[in-house]
Amino acid sequence: MSDAPLLSLRNVSISFGGVRAVHGVSLELRKGELVGLIGPNGAGKSTVLNLISGSVRPTEGDILFKGKSIVGLRPDVLSRIGISRTFQNIRLFPQMTAFENVALGIHGKPLYSFAESFVRTRRAWRAEAEVRERALSLLELVDLTRYAKERAGSLPYGLQRRLELARAMATGPELLLLDEPAAGMNEDECGSLVELIRRIHEESSYGMILIEHHMNVVMELCADSLIYVLNLGEILASGSPREVQADQRVIGAYLGAKRSANERRRRRIS
């Protein structure tokens, strides 16, 4: 079992009422590997993530996590067996503080019983202290300790992105799904994010799937690993960053087919 891939998608497809969002997607990911998933808008990237994280159920194909099929399991079950994610549009808990958001990742499955939530036993206090300890160290990791008591909703955008990352790690995952973490960030914010993700990748043994539009972020982080290109719900190409960038089909998908010079001229006149 140990050599089974951390995650493998086998011919997974899903259609929403006739519209084929994802079709015949297969990919594999080993423990500690960081894989990129790119493609134009509407290619189905987020849907793939939603399939893996259990938010939606595939109509065909299978998804294996550590060799076992996880199709049909509820997201909270998946989270407990080690799958965690961030969201394309940030979904923090606005009324809760930054600390509480991260702590929630740890005690999504409470560490003490229902009765102990009324009368804390020593075990419960120890569990609380443990959660606080880990949450604070995670906040420290993403450099948000200063904002621990701030309401998540009132934090600036860049900090919310990092907080969501910290919260995703709080569940103690083995597979981390990042859904456009750098969306809406300027250059130097991207820089520090890349630096943060690289450090997390090196120090942890997570398998990671990174969906991202900022090509420089993807290329830098996946320099020595695979990138899958998704277009119209299908895997168009996969390979190292250099191969993918040179692949005509990928460029076509992003920039539209290469038009002959005169066709461009005619279009401009009408």
Partner: protein, 306 residues
């Protein structure tokens, strides 16, 4: 001074049920206009086991709460599985409470039906009511700060994200409903042993909407706010008794004014303090920051989780 004690006792009883409701509505975001139904179940259950099975009063009270708590599964389980939310859930609880009231109405020979259940001794006095209210208050404060309590708030803030973070939505909602129904049941039992009489008409829609208003006026995600309003909603009508019909008009207009001008209620979204645990933790972090140390990578899952 008997009258003042009766307001204090009725105030405490109202506080207990409003505390439970604030866990359900204030913290978990599930609105119920049927909590008078759970009060009825608790009250009747406690009275019957006391009279018929001679269970001592000190035991009948919590057992009344348990009966109401268990009855909450009848409506809760199918409702939450069917993903009933917002207005739908509120109307389902209204339906449940009315069904309970009407069912009690038809039980004439057995437990008094619409004429009411008599022969209940007056056991509830001020010390007992205060003690139960304090206990309920401490329990609610401790619960909302617990991990289970935080999970409820997460369910309120963003259900999908909470589920992704490992929160079992069905269990958390059922737990919140159970707590609020248990509190309502205990309050119903206290009420039964105070009035020494129970009739289904005591637990109608107006009682449920008063309770809901107390939580919303008191403030969402707050324990202290609803407690104050719970007491005021008992004292105020007595104070305004001389206004007769006008008090209902004022009461209704108050609903509108509160919702329009101060929707967050008296103390909404503002927890007064974090409690001792917090101060120790921040101190620990502050001391560590003093010594430079390479940031420790996140360890694997915390021991203890499967």
């Amino acid at each position: 001074m008997g009258y003042l004690t009766s307001i204090l006792i009725l105030g405490c009883i109202n506080i207990v049920v409003v505390l439970g409701l604030s866990v359900l509505t204030g913290y978990t975001g599930l609105f119920s206009i049927g909590h008078a139904g759970f009060m009825a179940v608790g009250g009747y259950a406690a009275a019957i086991i006391y009279i018929r099975l001679h269970v001592p009063f000190a035991l009948a009270l919590p057992l009344g709460g348990v009966a109401a708590g268990l009855s909450s599964y009848i409506i809760g389980y199918p409702a939450f599985r069917g993903k009933l939310r917002g207005d739908y859930f509120a109307i389902a609880t209204l339906g449940f409470a009315e069904a309970v009231r009407l069912l009690l109405n038809t039980t004439y020979p057995v437990i008094g039906g619409a004429y009411g259940l008599m022969g209940i001794p007056q056991k509830t006095n001020l010390p007992i009511a205060l003690a139960v209210a304090l206990l309920a208050f401490a329990g609610a404060q401790s619960f909302v700060r617990s991990q289970h309590g935080k999970n409820c708030v997460a369910v309120y803030d963003d259900e999908t994200a909470a589920q992704m973070m490992g929160v079992d939505l069905l269990r958390t909602k059922l737990m919140a409903l159970f707590i609020s129904a248990f509190y309502a049941g205990v309050a119903g039992a206290l009420y039964a042993f105070y009035m020494a009489y129970l009739s289904p008409s005591m637990f109608g829609i107006s009682k449920s909407s008063d309770l809901l208003a107390a939580v919303v006026f008191g403030g969402m995600q707050s324990i202290i706010g609803p407690v104050i309003i719970a007491f005021v909603t008992v004292a105020l009508p007595e104070l305004l008794r001389f206004l007769l019909a006008w008090r209902l008009v004022i009461y209704g207009l108050l609903f509108v004014v509160m919702m329009v001008f101060r929707p967050q209620g008296l103390l909404g979204y503002r927890e007064l303090d974090f409690g001792p645990g917090w101060r120790r933790a921040t101190a620990a972090v502050a001391s560590r920051l003093g010594k430079p140390r390479p940031p420790r990578g996140p360890q694997g899952p915390v021991e203890g989780t499967p």
